[in-house]
Symmetry: C2
Subunit: 156 residues, 2 copies
DNA sequence: TTCACTGCAAATGTTTTGCATGTGC
DNA sequence: GCACATGCAAAACATTTGCAGTGAA
């Protein structure tokens, strides 16, 4: 998915292309891709270029982008939402490190297996969305914990 | 899991058995079991018996119970946490209706399949927890939507 | 009696909204 | 120029915390 396509999609839906909006898209495109970002993360990034963008503009735009299915929202247990680009209209699941917060996408979706079993079909349940995230410790944090001490806790 | 056992578990960990706490446990035990409940749900239920229990007492106790792994917390996208009893230390996944909010536990956990593929192992990722929830419309809401109109929206 | 627990009120943190102004097209 | 966007401030919302008083053991 290239930035130009996304801009097109916004335009097609009657949204205007503001500098703030473009910068928000860039923040997603250029993120080193291993991390769904919080509204604040995005804000920090955008503010570097446009120092007086407000957080509410970020939120409003994240909602717009979510509505267009350009990004999707993850709900983690810390009460903060994270957002990530939808790769080609598809979706992702992640291994999320409780130590350093890194989130690595995995190439597996449980919905296929679920279909094979047919549980939803049997219950006549019409699936619209789903969430699947795995929490634990990444290899780096595990190594470091061997040196330093016990696991739960930040490993910066 | 019987209520008496849970009370024992609290006592064993140095927690006192207050009427409020017992009523919170009851709220979980006696819930018709198809629904993770929000703090407010629990509060509404407890208030019927003890009219001046405060919401913060509910929150404090939910945290205690979560710490003891008696209940677990689900994070849905509406920003509100839901809590449910841990059946024998195990966990559950659900079909959650976007129409009426009912959540039905399903007998399937994607972690087994994931292990077979060995993705986490390959990445040396140590799994601690995971979430898997499916959102859509239950058979009742689908029926009603046939009569009434289009889907997204509450069906009482 | 003691220490955990409670209720109240106030604080916190995230996200949303109202309103007047600004700006892409 | 018009509609959509923005910034600011304030509101809304779930959840947490400080504190003084209460109650289980």
């Amino acid at each position: 998915m290239k930035e130009q396509q996304l801009v097109e999609q916004l335009r097609r839906n009657g949204y205007k292309i503001t500098p703030q909006r473009q910068e928000i898209l860039k923040a997603f495109m250029e993120s080193s891709s291993r991390l769904p970002q919080s509204a604040e993360d995005i804000h920090n990034r955008v503010v570097e270029k446009y120092p007086n963008v407000s957080l509410d503009t970020i939120y409003r735009n994240l909602n717009v982008l979510e509505g267009l299915e350009i990004i999707s929202r993850l709900s983690l247990k810390d009460g903060k939402s994270r957002y990530e680009l939808n790769p080609g209209g598809s979706h992702q699941h992640h291994l999320i490190c409780l130590g350093c917060g890194a989130a690595e996408a995995i190439d597996y979706c449980p919905l296929k297996a679920l279909h094979e079993i047919g549980i939803a079909e049997e219950k006549k349940f019409e699936i619209r969305e789903h969430s699947f995230e795995i929490f634990g410790y990444c290899s780096l944090c595990r190594e470091r914990s061997d040196e330093i001490g016990k696991l739960p806790g930040k490993c910066s």
